[in-house]
Symmetry: D2
Subunit: 292 residues, 4 copies
């Protein structure tokens, strides 16, 4: 999807406007249509706010329909391939298209329990989550009373909408929907940044490599390990090949070295947060902290 600039969107005709934003709210192009006359929007935030207000001001029936038109997570539509393009990409981002049988069964049970209690599909902004945190959310929200849960569903819809706007429309000031995960490696044996350290970022629950990089002359990676999107809530592990680094510098070590691959494991709870997780290392010691 190529993004359109906010300026271009502001001067687009009604058809183009609605075509661009129609799917920001799942199966509800009327939301985009209803804010068309409020153009020009001075920012992505005011555009998002207008769409949110349109939903909030709608009558209960319409709200309920908006909620009900959302697909189940890891549900029938997903298996049958009848999700919207956005929903397909979103569910895939959280690994919901790669569930084990056990996990699938668990989602199935939770979906059933949720429908039975609330008579709506369970909605969560999956780009902000990993599989584990979705399941945790699911279980927590099953405890809500129906009114609170409808509010929770709408809040998630508005988060989804913000990310969909972010993907469709370009503007100098972005919506605050992106997190950033970065690192840097300091060689405290030599007192300077560690250059050329191989770094791997893994998703702990999914047991997958998410990013690979090597540190540059500043001990940083050329770009953040995650940027331009939320960091899914979950546990991560950074792995640094400290052993290879010091071997290359001909620092005397043992065989195997005391420090070879150094793993730093940490949890992300704020998908829009900035996580800076540095490593300070000698061949015999290291430390880390949530930096800034």
């Amino acid at each position: 999807m190529t993004a359109i600039s906010l300026d271009a969107l502001n001067s687009a005709d009604r058809a183009t406007f609605v075509k661009t934003l129609g799917e920001v709210m799942e199966y509800a192009p009327w939301v985009a249509d209803s804010v068309y006359t409020q153009r020009p929007f001075s920012s992505l935030a005011s555009l998002h706010q207008a769409m949110v207000a349109a939903v909030k001001n709608a009558d209960d029936e319409r709200k309920l329909k908006l909620i009900k038109d959302h697909p189940d997570l890891a549900g029938k539509a997903a298996r049958e391939g009848t999700l919207t393009a956005d929903s397909t990409a979103e569910q895939s981002s959280a690994g919901l298209d790669r569930l084990t049988n056990n996990e699938y069964a668990k989602f199935h049970r939770l979906n059933d329990a949720y429908h039975a209690k609330f008579d709506i599909p369970f909605i969560v902004c999956v780009r902000r989550h990993g599989k584990d945190s979705i399941l945790r959310q699911f279980e927590q929200r099953l405890q809500n009373d129906p009114a609170a849960e409808r509010d929770a569903a709408l809040a998630e819809i508005f988060r989804i909408a913000a990310l969909r706007i972010d993907q469709r429309v370009d503007a100098p000031v972005r919506l605050e929907v992106h997190g950033r995960l970065s690192t840097h490696v300091l060689d405290t044996y030599n007192g300077h940044p560690a250059e050329g350290v191989a770094v791997e970022l893994r998703d702990v629950s999914g047991n997958q490599v998410i990013a690979r990089a090597a540190t540059n002359a500043d001990g940083r990676t050329d770009k953040p390990l995650i940027a331009g999107r939320p960091i899914p809530i979950g546990d991560y592990e950074l792995r640094f090949d400290v052993g290879a680094y010091f071997t290359r510098l001909r620092v005397p070590t043992s065989d195997p070295p005391f420090l070879g691959i150094v793993p730093l494991r940490f949890g992300v709870s704020e998908p829009e947060g900035h996580y800076h997780v540095p490593l300070l290392a000698t061949p015999w010691s290291y430390s880390t902290y949530r930096g800034s």
Copy 2:
């Protein structure tokens, strides 16, 4: 096997003496027999030294037979269950009884190449090694010339003998054949030792839990995680449940916590060394080092 005291051994009759020490050298009770007249031994070290000297002073034929009577590692005898009790326990300690097909094939190839080059079995004191370091040794020693390799084989036989003596005979001063792996956890958020932290020690290449413990009021485990034996050469990971610890203390954190399970990965190169690997942690930072 119940150990006999050195005093008792020193006053034992020849039959008991040879029965006790006969298998210290694989299939070579003559070694024990030949040192019987040198009793009393003032220490385990002098007993070991006497047995080593007996082998060194033997003629080449006898030395070669001693070497050749050793079984292959992960070889036919192991599969068929015809190893001596000592060899069975030793090979099992390094996981050689739990090889994957690939690993088994690799040992097979290396054994063949080794026999072809040296016409003796490959001997290594497996209690000092993990699977990976045995394979590394195997490949390195294949580069030796035959004379150097026979010396290497005898040196390993003497290491095996020391550990077998250590298991059979008690004395106030032990042979220096044991390593020690310990940890302690300091809570630098509250400025005192961290009590009740669940600790797990894993063998990285074998992907196995070796030890589990919880820290006591001093932030230490009641006994070392490894003691009374060599620490097999290899890579280890300590895992500390820092998240549960701080949650129990009602320290405000995020969900999931920034630090939940903290892994410390390190290599052991000196099986008889003392490895102290402490953890200093707050909910947002930690450090480790090879301590003393």
Copy 3:
């Protein structure tokens, strides 16, 4: 003063008993005399407790006299040299015999204000304090009401008594009146304890060197920097000659080195506590923490 063993004290005659313990309570040998019949004491703690009880059970007049017989801190008796030997040593331990004119004037003012309000001398167990913390105590206790302040004075008299018993009587189990201040230095550049590092302990407010030592092969000092007495409340600075250590090891550094003298400054609030303040250092980094 040579200490007498608790056993010997238990079997001493009344005169010796009272001579030994008569000055445990300032100018009040009647306290020692009154507990004589309770011999034998099973421990220093029970002896101390008996003397405390004797005072507590005395009538108000006697208690008041006991309090009033104490000298002023940094007062006329001190200047004229008419203090008891115990008081002289105690006041000197906190540096009260080396006051500047300003400090002397401050004590004078506080003593006057205190006498005016309470009509007793200000009593504090000076061995547990530095000059600054005595002044802080002085100001705080001036806020008390008279009854609370008499209790505070007696509590301090009992602390003084414990330390005086500790000096006079030997027993296998000591009174818990001693703190301990220790350090160790870890060279995280080389991964082992740092041997031969010159260490200096300074009293920050007094700007005095209290102890000097060098680390041994374990990176520790042969004996604690402070032991066998309370650690006076106050601020301390440990100074480690890290620069000279790494220079001696021919580690490449700059001129002047990034780390030469490393100062660690910390406060002591529990005179009977154990303070372990280690240093972990490379030529380019260091860390410290309250250890255990």
Copy 4:
């Protein structure tokens, strides 16, 4: 002194040009004059290079006169106030106008010895030094042979010239004559930057406060503690009021706190280097390192 832009200097007439740059080389306006025809200079570096070349290409007599026209450090001219404005400011920057009698006598002795051996004044770019490092330089250079020492003197003259050009002429790209000293404070108790920590930078040998600041929301000072000039070679101490910071946050600590004022002491050997010296602290632990 108001700086002139390089563009303006390039288009200035000869008189203005020489007036601006005449004192870049002490008492030697001929150097500026001789490069006038080489205008326009594309950068400060090429201007400096031209002036350096003019001196190098001069005959020995002229070079010697340039050297000899420099004043003694802490010498008669300084005491009598007959130094050039540049020299006055420079000698003052290193504290040479505030010597103790002992230090003055030491300079006097060294100047005499130096004159006796080399028959020239001792020249050093004092803005790059503290008092101690000047004295160390003095003693080291007294060991030189005369030819090497003349080269050393000229090299220092060229460094002085670079700094004087830097003060007189503005250009988008500066000469690399500035160092930078910065810090930041991370609160690893709460996992975020420490805001509002009072920081003091002290010159250790001069026992003077050089800079005071408080950390901002990023845990940094609004501007570097030293920037826009060389960092004089020497030992520095940063002092952070960690105790007050945690007290303000109502973190439970002791009285006095374990960490009150935290001093970080470090040496600067590269006046044009970037020194980043951060502090990571909880109420019970801290660490620092040469950062980047």
